[in-house]
């Protein structure tokens, strides 16, 4: 057993930890947790904790259901909301392995690790920095009732004694207590809508952090008697919740996107990376925006893009190259604006990285920059400029994804197959639903 494991075992004693939650993520991005007593942890480090994989969305076919969750000791944290004065609870993220010790291809964390290590073989490390949006509601959701946001404020509003700012303060201090640095937070455009930005970190840590973040935010909300949701588009009329993500590649200490003197200080590598993402944008859409509801956010206007294009400080573009700040070569990055906070962050980061790397490997040329507000263009203008639309629905996205070698390669055959089957089923179920929209339109007139 290594030092880190010893450290964890010692911390269990010192902090009087009574339960350790082992966390992992299913294919759709839901957090799964199994609690073990500290006494079992030593065994868990060595051999993993066995569980029935077939009970977890997308993990296993019935007959090979024996799987092992192996805690990653570097992710050990005390859960602040479970720890008052008395004994405390801790958590660790797990890697999922097969009984013979080989990593499971069904584990989203492994999907990302595999993709990262392929990039590492070419000398790159992948950093991400998400801006996570979500809504706060007065009550927990109940079928048939319209959700009521906690306030009526707007973008950057400062409101005295608002529930939103109380909430953000508590959530942020809890995140910091778990070792997750917060860069920035403010009220977003919709009523009750918040944004909290996490600090730059390598993609695996960020994905772990997002999983933690979603849990912390929901816990804090519950603690304050309100409800938090990352649903991409809860209201027809108010902006949706996205997860704009800044990404960059590093070669050792050097930001591979930076090149002094080039346009926007963006290196050839950076340009090819963007080209790769644009080229594969439709294919990866069903991973970065995986719900029926996700596509209602991507309908024209506001902060959410609908077209495959890039621009410099162009908020209507799918990829934005932010303004370069002098002498900040290390912070050169690009912002991907499609992705929403209800994605599986492991899979989403993996496909973004894979698409970008394809651009680098194949030396793709960056299409011309979109300088205008893409929504204000006419259909014909967009056509003339070669700007393609993103998939308009989950159905479109699945259809495109089913022909994507990139997705199959990146997710691995098992996850790819499961994911698409699951999404197809979601779409079929949705298709049969009769909505309020239809009733409101039709009942009165026909």
């Amino acid at each position: 057993m290594g030092k880190q494991e010893d450290f964890v075992l010692r911390a269990l004693e010192e902090r009087d930890v009574r339960f350790v939650r082992l966390w992992f993520t299913d294919v759709l991005g839901f957090l799964k947790s199994v609690s073990v007593a500290p006494a079992e942890l030593e065994g868990a480090f060595e051999e993993g904790i066995g569980f029935d994989g077939s009970a977890i969305e997308g993990f296993a076919r019935v007959y090979e259901s024996d799987m092992l969750a192996k805690p990653d000791p570097t992710t050990f944290q005390i859960l602040p909301w479970r720890s008052g004065e008395g004994p405390s609870t801790a958590r660790m993220f797990c890697d999922i392995t097969m009984p013979d010790g080989s990593p499971s291809y069904a584990d989203p964390r492994h999907v990302l690790k595999r993709t990262l290590s392929e990039a590492a073989d070419k000398g790159f490390t992948f950093y991400t920095h998400p801006e996570i949006e979500f809504y706060l509601f007065k009550d927990s959701p109940s079928a048939g009732n319209d959700p009521v946001p906690v306030d009526r404020s707007g973008y950057f509003d400062h409101t005295a004694q608002s529930r939103g700012s109380d909430f953000r303060r508590e959530a942020i201090s809890m995140l910091e207590a778990m070792g997750i640095s917060v860069e920035f937070s403010h009220h977003e455009g919709g009523p009750g809508q918040q944004e909290i930005d996490l600090r730059y970190a390598d993609a695996l840590s960020t994905a772990d952090n997002i999983m933690t973040f979603r849990t912390v935010v929901r816990e804090v909300a519950l603690g304050q008697g309100i409800w938090a949701s990352f649903m991409p588009k809860p209201f027809t009329t108010h902006p949706g919740s996205g997860m704009h993500t800044h990404v960059s590649l590093f070669e050792g200490d050097r930001n591979a996107f930076y090149e002094a003197g080039s346009e926007y200080q963006l290196s050839k590598t950076g340009r090819q990376f963007i080209a790769g993402i644009l080229h594969h944008a439709s294919e990866i859409s069903c991973v970065t925006n995986q719900w029926v509801n996700s596509y209602k956010r991507l309908i024209g206007g506001g902060e959410a893009p609908s077209y495959i294009c890039w621009g410099h400080n162009n908020r209507s573009a799918m990829i934005r190259v932010p303004m370069y700040k002098p002498n900040k070569g290390q912070s050169t990055r690009i912002e991907l604006r499609t992705i929403d906070a209800a994605c599986n962050p492991y899979l989403a980061f993996a496909v973004i990285l894979a698409a970008g790397m394809k651009g680098i490997e194949q030396g793709l040329e960056l299409p011309r920059e979109a300088e205008d507000d893409v929504w204000s263009l006419t259909e014909r203008e967009r056509k003339a400029l070669g700007i393609q639309p993103l998939p308009k629905s989950l159905y479109d996205a699945i259809g495109i994804a089913e022909d994507s070698e990139l997705l199959a390669e990146t997710l691995g055959e098992h996850v790819y197959d499961y994911f698409l089957r699951n999404k197809r089923a979601e779409w079929e179920e949705y298709r049969g639903q009769v909505s309020a929209f239809e009733r409101d339109r039709m009942l009165p007139v026909i």
Binding site: G2, G101, Y105, A408, E409
Partner: protein, 988 residues
């Protein structure tokens, strides 16, 4: 009296005339120096060097007088001048340094490391006693002074080494001390360059590799890792910058080329994240990295970590911080796999043209010894602190002492390593170049041989010794892992330390055995007793154990070997073959550790071991039929006859299985071979059955001609190990025989044939399945040709014609076979292709088969036969193309899937890329299917669910250990793509 040129040649000079002149030039000192020059590695070069030096010195006569007078000095100087052109040149440039060699303590006293450090620091004007010495000599001069003084000390060292026969480990340790002092002085120069801010940081230089191991070469990159901490209250950012500058400058000071040359490159690439990682890190940052990211090879490298310069206290803390991680590395996940992978990588990276003359890498090279020693240290070092030396030879001695390595093996390995390293030193010393390749020209070889003390026939002697030691390393480096295991179970009393049973278990576990206790029991059984057999086993087992360890299931391999040995033990050729023919033993080990199918065959037919040394190419059908007929004809009783036929079949199954397992026989060829083997078996058995029925009925002649039609995968030459042979039987009454008599006879022959082939026996059964005949199970099992004709004319459905695509009448009466094929050809290859409604019917049947035939609980993705993109998908697609187009395209008229696919491409019925996708899937699935049977011993239509079986199948398919989920991923990808093509081409 001055010597003649002839006498000088006898003494070892090559150019006697020049030598005579040269020695004369030395004047009075000449005669005294002659024998010293002659004893050097290259007397001519030594003499030339001496003359050059004498030209250069200020006090020529004083020098010559000292040399004539002081034997020690003369010997030291001559041996250096004879062995090292580079040092000879150095002396000519800095002639005053000859006086260094007059120091009489050179022969007796090893210079203290602190004195070397002090001397080098002083030469750049730094105070050796200071906490952080800073060079005060101006930079350019300091850099040159460091080079000159480095060579001065190297000169003293080389003199000690050459003239006073330092032991290899002492020489290597002194070179490492000199390197450490040099790094320290270079750091002092770097501090002067960086200036004020240098004091904000505490920088430790930790040596890795050979310098860290205290066993450096004369010329080598010096591997280091830098650790820093902010000094006192300095800001970490400032300290980081200062430390990075210091580290970078230090490397430049050592590697820059100036008028005084260069020293050696300092290589910091063993640091975390290698060349792309930050040059310096704090202790905590190192710790974070190693705990989280480090790979096994990094821990192996860290075995050698040793603080050598800068802040030694910090360096020591670094070493203490990593020690627990290094010593628990063997417990890490995948340790065994990593280690084996590392070794393969090393072997793969040697350029072919150098491999033969490489001292370091390559089979039997220095790296083999170092690797073996380090691996044993990692495995046993956690429990036993007494074997943690960083130097290879010291560690080896400790391992011998602790019983981890057998004494004889260990000492032989020590001797070989010391020889090879000394040779390497002498090669490098000549020009002070970093090389590990033995030169090829005679002059160099002569010099090297003489420097090692081979004065008569130096070239031949050197060559012989070198080959001998390399062979020893090759022989021993694997065995030292396994031999002590035998000692551990041996009941013999011995004086040497023995590996304890616990350590033996730990080692077996590290080598990949899951059940070390069981393995030790097998070892004990195989080696107990004192007979000749067990003697041979003892020599054989170390190698066998290592081969088992490379196989997917080492435990099964060893157990299988024990059983085989128990049944064959006393057979004279058995152990002798294994001992004398390495390839046979190695193949055997692989088969036993991989394939239950082959193991089962071997246990029933132990003689098969012999075959492993032969050509594993399948025999031709003619040869097989002839042999089977011959063995059958020697038996009177039909059952005995068929038993003999089946014994031949069993032997050939083993041949084919081994050929596929060792990768000699391609999957398509395996299908051919198995089908031909079935042809021969049926042919010979049919003859026996016909004869037996004829005599049983008291008939003078055969009342009917008979033939067997191969169907299905058998007809397509695509049999797998476990496949049934699908057939149809046809007969034809001989003219003048009553139909009833002939029919009864034919019926009886078929019954007898099936009975004989299914008699319980020790070979895998050959199941003859006639269910594809007209009317299936309800129809008569054998029909006349006319009856087939009538049936097909009246009743037949499209699926029956589809089945006929694979019909190939291969066994029995030749005329009848031809007539049968002539009958079915127009049916299966209709001139205008099958009708639209028949196409719809084929698709409908396929849809139903996909849905219904898949067994309950089977996973459609990994079902080999009926799964997505599996065999049925590909074969139906090809068959539909055949039924539609074979009438017009004669090349499509084949029973074989791949051949038909190729013909379809040529006829532009399917695009080349699509056909390639189908062929790739067909081959992969077929290979997987064979591998599954070979591994499990019985057939299955599913990629194995059991983790161990899955891993073994992956290994048979050529994947590395631990890659089984990748194998599944590849399988799924290949079949998914094939399914896409099937969607397009079959379903249209």
């Amino acid at each position: 009296m001055s010597p003649t040129s002839g006498s000088l040649v006898r003494l070892g000079f090559l150019d006697g005339e020049a030598a005579r002149a040269g020695i004369a030039e030395l004047g009075e000192a000449g005669p005294a120096l002659t024998s010293k020059l002659a004893a050097s590695a290259d007397p001519d070069a030594a003499l030339a060097g001496l003359l050059r030096l004498a030209e250069a010195v200020d006090d020529r006569s004083a020098m010559l007088a000292v040399l004539a007078d002081d034997e020690g000095t003369a010997m030291r100087l001559c041996s250096v001048l004879g062995a090292s052109e580079a040092l000879s040149t150095h002396l000519a440039k800095h002639p005053a340094q000859w006086r260094e060699l007059t120091d009489p303590t050179l022969g007796t006293t090893r210079p203290a490391a602190f004195a070397v450090r002090a001397a080098l620091l002083e030469c750049v004007g730094a105070d050796p006693l200071a906490d952080q010495p800073v060079a005060t000599v101006p930079d350019v001069e300091a850099v040159d002074a460091l080079r000159v003084n480095y060579r001065r000390l190297l000169l003293r060292l080389a003199a000690r080494d050459l003239a006073h026969h330092l032991a290899l480990d002492d020489a290597a340790a002194e070179i490492a001390d000199l390197a450490a002092g040099t790094l320290e002085a270079a750091l002092a120069v770097a501090r002067a360059r960086v200036g004020e801010t240098a004091s904000t940081t505490r920088l430790a230089v930790v040596a890795m590799g050979k310098c860290g191991g205290h066993e450096l070469n004369y010329v080598s990159d010096v591997d280091v890792i830098y650790v820093f901490e902010p000094a006192d209250d300095a800001d970490e950012g400032v300290a980081l910058r200062a430390a990075t500058q210091l580290a970078a400058q230090l490397m430049q000071v050592c590697s820059d080329h100036t008028a005084e040359g260069t020293i050696w490159p300092v290589d910091a690439n063993l640091r975390p994240e290698g060349a792309s990682g930050p040059l310096v890190r704090t202790l905590a940052s190192h710790q974070g990295y190693y705990e989280k990211w480090a790979k096994t090879w990094e821990f192996q490298a860290l075995l050698k970590a040793r603080p050598v310069a800068g802040d030694l206290e910090l360096g020591q803390r670094y070493v203490e911080m990593i020690a627990p991680m290094v010593w628990s590395a063997a417990d890490r996940e995948g340790f065994v796999h990593d280690v084996q992978a590392m070794r393969r990588r090393v072997l793969d990276h040697i350029p072919a043209h150098e491999a033969e003359r490489q001292l370091k890498l390559g089979s039997g090279g220095l790296r083999d010894v170092e690797f073996a020693v380090q691996l044993l240290q990692l495995v046993h070092g956690r429990a036993d602190e007494s074997i943690r030396s960083t130097a290879t030879l010291s560690a080896l001695a400790e391992l011998i002492q602790g019983g981890y390595v057998g004494r004889d093996d260990g000492e032989a390995l020590h001797e070989a390593y010391a020889f090879l390293r000394t040779l390497e030193h002498r090669i490098q010393l000549h020009r002070l170049r970093r090389t590990h390749v033995l030169p090829e020209d005679d002059a160099s070889l002569r010099r090297l041989g003489r420097s090692l003390g081979f004065f008569s026939e130096p070239v031949a002697q050197l060559d012989k010794q070198w080959r001998y030691h390399r062979r020893e390393v090759r022989r021993l480096h694997e065995k030292i892992f396994y031999r002590p295991l035998l000692a551990a179970v041996a009941k013999l009393a011995g004086g040497d330390a023995r590996l304890s049973l616990d350590s033996a278990e730990a080692r077996l576990r590290a080598l990949g055995y899951d059940d070390p206790k069981g393995a030790l029991r097998h070892l004990e059984a195989l080696t107990s007793g004192v007979s000749r057999t067990t003697d041979i086993q003892r020599t054989l087992l170390p190698a066998m154990l290592s081969w088992f360890a490379d196989s997917p299931d080492p435990d099964a391999g060893l157990f299988g070997f024990r059983r085989l040995s128990e049944s064959l033990g006393s057979t004279p050729w058995y152990l002798k073959t294994l001992r004398d023919e390495g390839e046979v033993a190695q193949r055997l080990a692989f088969l036993l550790g991989t394939s239950r199918y082959a193991t089962d065959l071997l246990e029933r037919e132990p003689q098969g071991v012999r075959m492993l040394g032969e050509d594993l190419q399948p025999l031709s059908a003619e040869a097989l039929t002839a042999e089977m007929r011959a063995v059958a004809s020697r038996q009177v009783d039909p059952e005995d006859a068929v038993r003999a036929i089946r014994a031949v079949r069993r032997r050939e199954l083993l041949r084919i299985a081994c050929g596929e397992l060792v990768g000699e026989t391609d999957v398509a060829l395996v299908g051919h071979a198995l089908s031909r083997l079935t042809d021969a078996t049926l042919e010979a058995t049919l003859a026996v059955a016909m004869e037996s029925m004829r005599t049983g009925r008291g008939l003078a002649a055969q009342p009917a001609r008979m033939a067997v039609v191969a169907m299905g995968r058998y007809g397509g030459f695509e049999l797998s190990y476990g496949s049934d042979a699908d057939v149809m039987f046809v007969y034809e009454p001989v003219d003048g025989v009553e139909a009833q008599v002939a029919g009864g006879y034919a019926q009886a022959v078929v019954g007898e044939l099936r009975r004989l082939l299914s008699l319980p026996a020790t070979d895998p059964p050959l199941v003859v399945d006639a269910d594809l005949r007209p009317e299936g199970k309800q129809g008569p099992v054998v029909r006349t040709l006319a009856s087939y004709e009538a049936y097909y004319a009246k009743w037949s459905h499209v699926w029956e014609f589809q089945a006929l695509l694979r019909a190939d009448a291969v066994v029995g009466d030749e005329g009848l076979r031809e007539r049968f094929m002539a009958l079915v050809d127009p049916l299966r290859f209709p001139a205008a292709g099958i009708s639209e409604s028949d196409i719809v019917e084929v698709r409908r049947i396929k849809a139903r088969v996909d849905d219904e035939r898949l067994p309950r609980g089977a996973d459609p993705h990994t079902h080999l036969k009926l799964g997505r993109g599996g065999l049925a998908d590909v074969e139906w697609t090809v068959q539909l193309l055949q039924m539609r187009h074979a009438g017009a395209v004669p090349a499509l008229r084949t029973t074989q899937t791949l051949a038909a696919l190729e013909a379809a491409v040529d006829a532009e019925l399917i695009p080349r890329p699509d056909a390639d996708v189908l062929a790739a899937a067909w081959r992969l699935v077929s290979r997987t299917r064979n591998a599954v049977t070979l591994v499990r011993g019985k057939p299955s239509d599913q990629v194995p669910r059991d983790a161990a079986e899955r891993a073994a199948v992956a290994r048979v398919l050529g994947y590395a250990a631990g890659d089984s989920d990748r194998m599944v991923n590849d399988y799924l990808r290949t079949t998914r793509r094939a399914h896409g093509v099937v969607e397009k081409v079959f379903w249209g």
